[in-house]
């Protein structure tokens, strides 16, 4: 049976697509080195549209209305600019209600996009641009440590990572946060109150990487303007030992926290990237492999959720579980020496 892989890697090659949500202009070029804060692509997009029904307003047919329209597709209009006019004894006109751009003009109507919003896409990680995706973005390649998580609040930033974590089941509270942490990425444990998130925002910080979060804090976490990345899940869960060892030994290193949403279909998931210099580029990690003896695995579900162990035997056929269900399973030796039987679907390979 095939096993999904959770990447907790001290050194690997990381290739990431960075794409605009709408079509725009790509500023970077292939083989260009970029820093996390570099704007690699940008776009203007309209949040709103205005439909001006010339035919209906003037009470004429669409064909007649088209002759009265004074703008064409692509025109940029200021507020009050003339859009259409009806000549004759009673001269009438239609003016742009807001500044914007004409998207379509015809069939007796004019569609304008208004309320321009500028989107700037930052590289997010340092590395080399290996591909430009026309009007959408770039592919960036870098080397470094990679730690994947399970939940993110949709934001991305980078900064110096400072560990406030002494043991995997630490709780991060507001009183641990002081002004010396301003502008840094904080590595913490479990967060159980909104006050901690709020105080971190006030400093402000550049990112928060934690083991677990109370589900009641999901909405406040979305409201924070800095990235929040949860490594192990919801409830009071300690940090898995693989991530704990790697991240706590990377204290005071530059880290990119990409707290994007876990998209099951695209495979995009929240992650921490710690860029590292290399002389020889390491291999790219696999996305999946077959379960096998000797693999390091992480338990996804109780009773040992989040714990790391090593597969000592993959059972053939179905095994009876303590729950009464029967499923394909493996014997796993946990780090505390205990041996447990775990269904394969409750495991992910760490690597």
């Amino acid at each position: 049976m095939l096993a999904p892989i959770l990447h907790v890697l001290p050194l690997t090659t990381i290739v990431r697509e960075r794409l605009l949500p709408v079509l725009g202009k790509v500023n970077a070029r292939v083989n260009q080195r970029v820093n996390p804060t570099d704007i690699v692509a940008e776009a203007n997009f309209a949040r709103e549209h205005v439909l001006l029904d010339v035919a209906r307003t003037f009470g004429v047919s669409a064909i007649t209305a088209d002759k009265m329209i004074r703008v064409k597709e692509g025109d940029r209009l200021t507020e009050g600019a003339l859009v259409a006019e009806k000549s004759g004894l009673f001269r009438r006109s239609i003016k742009a209600p807001r500044a914007g751009r004409v998207m379509v003009a015809g069939s007796g109507q004019v569609l304008m996009e208004v309320g321009d919003t500028r989107v700037e896409l930052r590289a997010g990680l340092p590395g080399m641009v290996t591909q430009v995706i026309a009007e959408r973005g770039v592919v960036i390649r870098t080397s470094g440590a990679l730690v994947q998580g399970v939940w993110g609040n949709g934001r991305i930033d980078n900064g110096l990572m400072v560990s406030l974590l002494e043991k995997p089941d630490d709780v991060l509270t507001a009183d641990r946060l002081d002004v010396s942490l301003r502008g840094s990425v904080i590595l913490g444990g479990h967060v159980r109150d909104a006050e901690t998130l709020r105080v971190a925002a006030e400093l402000p910080i550049r990112g928060l990487v934690i083991s677990s979060l109370l589900s009641a804090l999901i909405i406040p976490a979305y409201q924070m303007r800095y990235p929040i990345l949860v490594l192990d899940g919801f409830g009071a869960l300690p940090m898995n030992s693989a991530a704990f060892k790697l991240l706590t030994t990377s204290n005071k290193r530059e880290a990119t926290v990409n707290a994007e949403h876990f998209d099951r279909y695209s495979g995009n998931r929240p992650e921490v990237i710690i860029p590292l210099p290399v002389s020889t580029e390491p291999e790219e990690p696999n996305g999946y492999e077959a379960f096998a003896v000797g693999q390091t695995v992480r338990m996804r579900r109780p009773p040992n959720a989040g714990m790391i162990g090593s597969i000592s035997n993959v059972h053939t056929g179905l095994s009876s579980l303590p729950s009464g269900l029967r499923a394909r399973a493996a014997d796993v030796r946990l780090e505390n020496g205990e041996n447990v039987l775990v269904p394969l679907v409750n495991l992910e390979v760490v690597g």
Binding site: E48, L51, S215, R300, P322, S323, L325, A327
Partner: protein
Amino acid sequence: MPASLVQNESILAIDIGATVTRAVMFDVVEGQYRFIASGQAPSTAEAPFRDIGIGVREAILNLQNIIGTTLLGSQDNNLIAPSQPDGSGVDAVVATLSAGPTVKTVVVGLLSDVSVQSARRLAESTYSRVVETLDLSDHRRPDQQMDSIVRSRPDLVVLAGGTDGGASRSIQRMLEAVGLACYLMPLEKRPMVLYAGNQKLANDVQEMLGGHAGKLQISYNIRPSLEVEDLAPASHELASLVMKLRQRQIKGIDELTLWSAGIVLPTAYARGRMIRFLSKLYESTRGLLSVNVGASATSVAAGFAGELTLGVYPQFGLGENLAGILQYTEVEDIMRWLQLDISPNTLREYLFQKSLYPSAIPATLDEQAITQAIARQALYLSVRTAQKDFPANAHATRTGLMPPLDLIIGGGGAVSDGTSLGQSLLLLLDGIQPVGILPVLLDQNNLLPLLGAASSRNHYLPIQVIESGAFIGLGTVVSVIASANYGDQVLRARLTYADGTEARAEVKFGGLEILPLPTGESARLSLQPLRRADAGLGPGKNGSVTVTGGALGVVIDARGRPLQLPSDPVRRRELIKKWHYTVGG
């Protein structure tokens, strides 16, 4: 001559669920189609695999190991079809699919209580979530409506409205908003559009939307007149559109379409097709109900005199949407089904954590109990939601109760993965709370939708497979409705077996009683209600009926309808434990 005798072909049926992929073999044994075996594997629609073909091949390999027939070529790993003289391969393939993200749907109609309701019901017959609704009572400007559609980033737009030959101007305004919204969206993200409104406008729709929609399908009007609603033709078109959407979203469907000569259907649609067919075939006087509690959705298909009500509720699925159930119910409503003493917060965190790992299964008894409690509430909510759309002739004897049914078929991971068949039955009884006397079947291998898909190739196959006993008979259930206090006697029951021996039960209110009756046997059940209780024959009415056996036998459920659970948590947990013990732990 029966088609089965002419065609005589083996059929490989593949079901790709959100978490599990099944490969099922149907073949002819002694002149009749039979379910031969099922192989399964984890589904691979999601990352890191992102190709359903991987899971499909693994499931076929597992099936191959069970039946000892080579189905995949050793060199190219491709399906061997048709079957070869050496016995390898298979003659035909059909498939169903429920994997995939929830289909974000915009519903557009004229009157909020007429065409919009019909369009909503149509949308709910597939794996959709309605994200925006437009109708005549919507006073936003057309450009605001258009922006609202664009912001909701729909995968699908269902347009209805206007009786045939009736109103057209208002619909045209709606079409304009939808057309412009489609135009504003990136080409690869433009929604599929299904038009099922006034047929007079079909050409206008084609002209206005044909060039802008991801794919436009024009169907018969779902509301040809104010009094008539006909969803059947449009639901067929909708199924086809959803598969086209899935082809865009999920890798591997093209190959499956090739293998199956195009017979890949949405799972819930195929299940609904079978229920409608069975409802007609068996001339069910009351109704047939099929429920499936799965990872992608909980679905309910009810057939009343050949008329189908199909409700697919991704919001009550036990997979990635699991935590979303809290938008529809309180944690306490789930806790009422639990025999464990845990805090509401523990359960809340459980829901969120489990939704991160939809394919994971309960490894401990406690976790199994929590999963089953959530499944009960998901089923309860789904059945109540679907019941609102049952036809008018399917009326309950009392408000808040289910209408009488002839048969229940339960399935889905949470139901069939009970630790015992008794647990599966109890989950169905708690979630559905049926009334009257009826048999309950368990579709342990999720065959119903596959039979629905197979019926596209062979009309005799589904009937022959069902009649060969492919479903597990859990038993005949007698539900007792009574106004009594806990512990009051409400029914005397006597079961007279074929050999003349008898089993008796004095049934008390609040209890479950079981009279053994093995699978395949029939017996005469005499019922004598007390305190004007209704045991399915009418309030206070005595009588006797012939009942069929099952794994549990005859189960008399005197826990009341609607089921009343004690408010005291300690007493409630004790009672739940007792009921679990009664059905076999």
